[in-house]
């Protein structure tokens, strides 16, 4: 006999609770989307939508990658270098004997391996993620420079057209990634990320394989960042060993906008998606309003602070008796 207080569908109920508090973010995203659609009505054509989602796609991937790290209670300063490395590996291998498939495998393997290695160091040798990724960023940048000292390499045109052409393939891929992420978070290892990020000692005592959870999460984070690099390479048609640099900052900004907390164990996929979308739209809007690129930096700095400060201040204000 079950009791009435058991929700009919526990999974949905849990998800709904976890995502409460995102309403404000939804509204802001919607408002920005409306502004964007007014400024750029082309959004509603296939081509416009494709271009829009192509700008969003790598940002969404790196935000997911960063969110995985932050849920674990760490932060990665190596996201940008990993994006660069992904782009470089793609540009170097796709001209090789195994072609596009070989390139795809090489990029994925590199991302998974570097992520897992980072995770292994963090989990088993107990070094904080921020300094491991700090040191790692030099190593990864070095590897990228070795593979491709200056921009170049080869990406087949058909592959570029497929991912970054006039069809919304990127959007489709994004949906696939999101489904994958959702499925992963519904596995014991996935839910372990929340537990291990929130209360590592408690999770260990509860029988959560904390170390394995970390290594897996870091590996997936590396995979996502490297694949973002592959996409960027397809967009630009070549590899560039420093093209990923802005993504470190952007990934943090996106995750913060999406409400992923710094101390670990807090944050949801929907938040991450909204955060990266918001960032992407803001960058686009500023571009269309004719802001010089540097003014975008100014605005971005202010927005990041606002995104954290406003909810803090409102909750404080509400707490006043």
């Amino acid at each position: 006999m079950t009791v009435t207080r058991v929700p009919a569908n526990l999974y949905t109920a849990v998800q709904r609770r976890r995502n409460r508090g995102l309403t404000g973010l939804y509204l802001v995203v919607a408002a920005f989307l409306v502004v964007y659609a007014i400024l750029f009505p082309g959004l509603f054509t296939i081509g416009g939508f494709s271009k829009f989602t192509q700008n969003w796609f790598p940002l969404a991937l790196v935000t997911m990658a960063q969110a995985l790290m932050m849920l674990n209670g760490g932060i990665s300063l190596a996201i940008g270098p990993l994006v660069s490395l992904g782009a470089v590996i793609a540009a170097v291998t796709m001209g090789g004997p195994l072609g596009v498939l070989g390139g795809l495998l090489a990029v994925s393997a590199a991302g998974l391996f570097i992520g897992a290695a980072t995770g292994g160091i963090v989990a088993y040798l107990r070094l904080p993620a921020i300094i491991v990724t700090l040191a790692g960023s030099f190593i990864i940048t070095g590897i990228a420079l070795l593979l491709l000292p200056r921009p170049g390499g080869y990406i087949p045109d058909w592959f570029s057209d497929l991912l970054a052409g006039h069809t919304p393939v990127a959007f489709g891929l994004l949906v696939l990634f999101l489904i994958g992420w959702k499925v992963y978070l519904a596995t014991p290892l996935g839910i372990g990320i929340y537990a291990a990020g929130n209360n590592p000692v408690g999770a260990y005592r509860s029988g959560v394989p904390v170390e394995r959870v970390k290594v897996f999460a870091f590996a997936l984070s590396g995979l996502l960042a490297a694949l973002a690099g592959l996409f960027v390479a397809a967009q630009t048609g070549s590899g560039d060993p420093v093209i990923g640099t802005p993504f470190t900052l952007n990934s943090i900004a996106g995750a913060v906008l999406g409400g992923v907390a710094f101390l670990g164990g807090r944050g949801t996929m929907r938040g991450v998606i909204c955060g990266s979308l918001l960032l992407s739209v803001m960058i686009n809007v500023m571009f269309f309003l004719g802001f010089p690129p540097v003014a975008q930096y100014v605005a971005q700095g202010l927005i990041i602070v606002g995104a954290v400060a406003v909810p803090q201040l409102t909750s404080q204000w509400r707490a006043k008796p």
Binding site: T2, L10, A13, V14, I191, N198, G202, A203, G207
Partner: protein, 502 residues
């Protein structure tokens, strides 16, 4: 009499840390269908013994024995396999995850590699039913009060259908009602043939629930016997090793001085519309069920959370204090209940913890005066009988000594109002008594002591008046003549004082 075979034993186990022996050849045997009490002062080695029994630590010498078989290389995983579950004092919950996910964590049912939420919800609903958790299963644990979280922790242990259940001070943050449910549950589990180990500092609970007792003192078993026929005094004697005398010192009638606190319509956090007066030389108790706004009341007085009032007079200031510094300046000091997270800077030394609040006044030419600091630390440790090297991190101290440090650090400021939040929680009997005596001497010196306590006998024996909180409001103020356990509990439950006393 049939001799039942123990499910879990420790045989002559030794364990030391950094050369300090903590357990010196301890035996304990947990038998099915018996509630076994483990008593001992803090620092006697109880936690270490629990960690050995649950595989978190390995003994240096001796064996842990499961079903009569000595196990080599015991680990938490192996302990879980063997059906051993532990409810630790430190909760193992993840605040962001739901009740159901927390209870299932580490043993989640799965289908095709994914968590089977349907199976999880049925299984979890069943254990929640048993422990009386009525909150929706999808609620994040972070939204629950400490007491409810403790119940989730217990449900989590039961979820694994243990054969051996170890409970380490399970009632320390529970309300009387919850503790009652837990007691019923423990009896039911006992009747089902589960072996239980129950650790508590509350002797009345031990008397009510347990049938066998093991007493640890300084890492040695001083008693391993049935509880029948042993009274509280006997237990205390076993733990302390001598006659402890009365736990509570006799109540003292101190002259009452000026009004130090006078509040009308005071609100802070959960505490609403409180009218409260207290004078120098008084010990005023604050009671009630857990989480009725008592803590917020203290924090609001202390300026740690925003507070408002229609009229207020706090140690000469005529509005609620803006922040902790202002409160310290006005002569208020606060000792938090959670000394590990709020009271002390655990990794720092005893000396730096003792000096932290009064750092500013031992300064010569802008620099810290080391000699004066050393003198102050030596003076405080002597007055509070804190032994050993003051350079040790405070986390190396036992709970009782940590609490002494948390209290002692305020003495140099010579506060006129002491706000104490459950100062004897998880503190051994000897230290409890020392703390009680200290509170009385504070009152004698003309300080105001406000004592929030979840231990009702404490309020009864020490306080001049007891304010009972209920649903954020000050429900009843009991004068000395009317203070009794019945009256406090009755007022906390919302009965009128007379009705409860009758």
């Amino acid at each position: 009499m049939t001799k039942t075979k123990p499910l879990l034993e420790a045989r002559r186990v030794f364990k030391g840390f950094f050369g300090n022996p903590v357990l010196k050849g301890v035996d304990i045997a947990l038998e099915p269908g018996r509630v076994h009490a483990l008593l001992g002062e803090n620092g006697a080695g109880k936690s270490t013994l629990i960690n050995l029994l649950s595989g978190a630590l390995q003994p240096d010498k001796g064996n842990v024995v499961v079903d009569g078989q000595p196990v080599l290389r015991f680990s938490p995983a192996a302990a879980r396999e063997a059906g051993i579950a532990v409810v630790q004092q430190e909760l193992s919950l993840a605040a962001e995850l739901s009740i159901a996910e927390n209870i299932g964590l580490g043993a989640l049912p799965r289908r095709f590699g994914l968590i089977d939420y349907r199976a999880l919800s049925t299984a979890v609903a069943e254990v929640c039913e048993r422990v009386g958790l009525t909150e929706p299963l999808d609620m994040p644990v972070g939204d629950l009060s400490l007491g409810r979280r403790q119940m989730v922790e217990i449900a989590k242990a039961l979820f694994r259908k243990p054969r051996v259940l170890i409970l380490d001070e399970p009632t320390s943050s529970l309300s009387a009602h919850e503790a009652g449910i837990l007691a019923g549950l423990i009896r039911k589990l006992r009747d089902e043939g589960i072996a239980l180990l129950y650790i508590s500092h509350r002797l009345n609970e031990v008397q009510a629930l347990c049938s066998h007792v093991t007493v640890l003192k300084d890492g040695v078993v001083t008693a391993d016997q049935p509880l029948a026929g042993v009274n509280d005094e006997g237990l205390v004697r076993l733990m302390v090793g001598r006659d402890a005398g009365d736990l509570f010192p006799a109540w003292q009638d101190n002259p009452v001085g000026n009004e130090l606190i006078g509040l009308e319509g005071f609100s802070a956090g959960m505490a609403r519309d409180v009218n409260f007066r207290a004078c120098a030389g008084e010990i005023v108790g604050i009671g009630g069920l857990v989480g009725q706004g008592q803590e917020d009341f203290l924090l609001g007085l202390y300026g740690a959370i925003p507070a408002s009032a229609e009229t207020a007079q706090i140690a000469g200031r005529h509005r609620p204090l803006k922040n902790v510094e202002a409160a310290n300046g006005a002569g208020l000091a606060y000792v938090p209940a959670d000394r590990k997270h709020e009271g002390l800077v655990l990794p720092h030394s005893i000396a730096s913890n003792l000096l932290l609040p009064s750092l500013g006044d031992l300064v010569k030419h802008g620099l810290r005066d080391r000699a004066a600091e050393r003198k102050r630390v030596a003076d405080l440790t002597r007055r509070l009988t804190i032994k050993g090297d003051v350079g040790r991190p405070v986390q190396a101290l036992s709970g009782g000594n940590q609490q002494k440090v948390a209290l002692a650090k305020w003495l140099p400021l010579d506060p006129s109002v002491l706000l104490l939040n459950d100062p004897t929680r998880g503190v051994d009997i000897e230290t409890k008594r020392e703390i009680y005596l200290m509170l009385q001497s504070f009152a004698r010196e003309g300080k105001l002591v406000i004592l929030l306590s979840s231990d009702t006998p404490e309020l009864v024996h020490l306080c001049d008046r007891v304010a009972v909180f209920r649903e954020g409001r000050l429900a009843t103020m009991l004068p000395r003549s009317e203070i009794s356990e019945e009256a406090i509990v009755g007022a906390a439950m919302g009965l009128s004082a007379k009705g409860a006393a009758a």
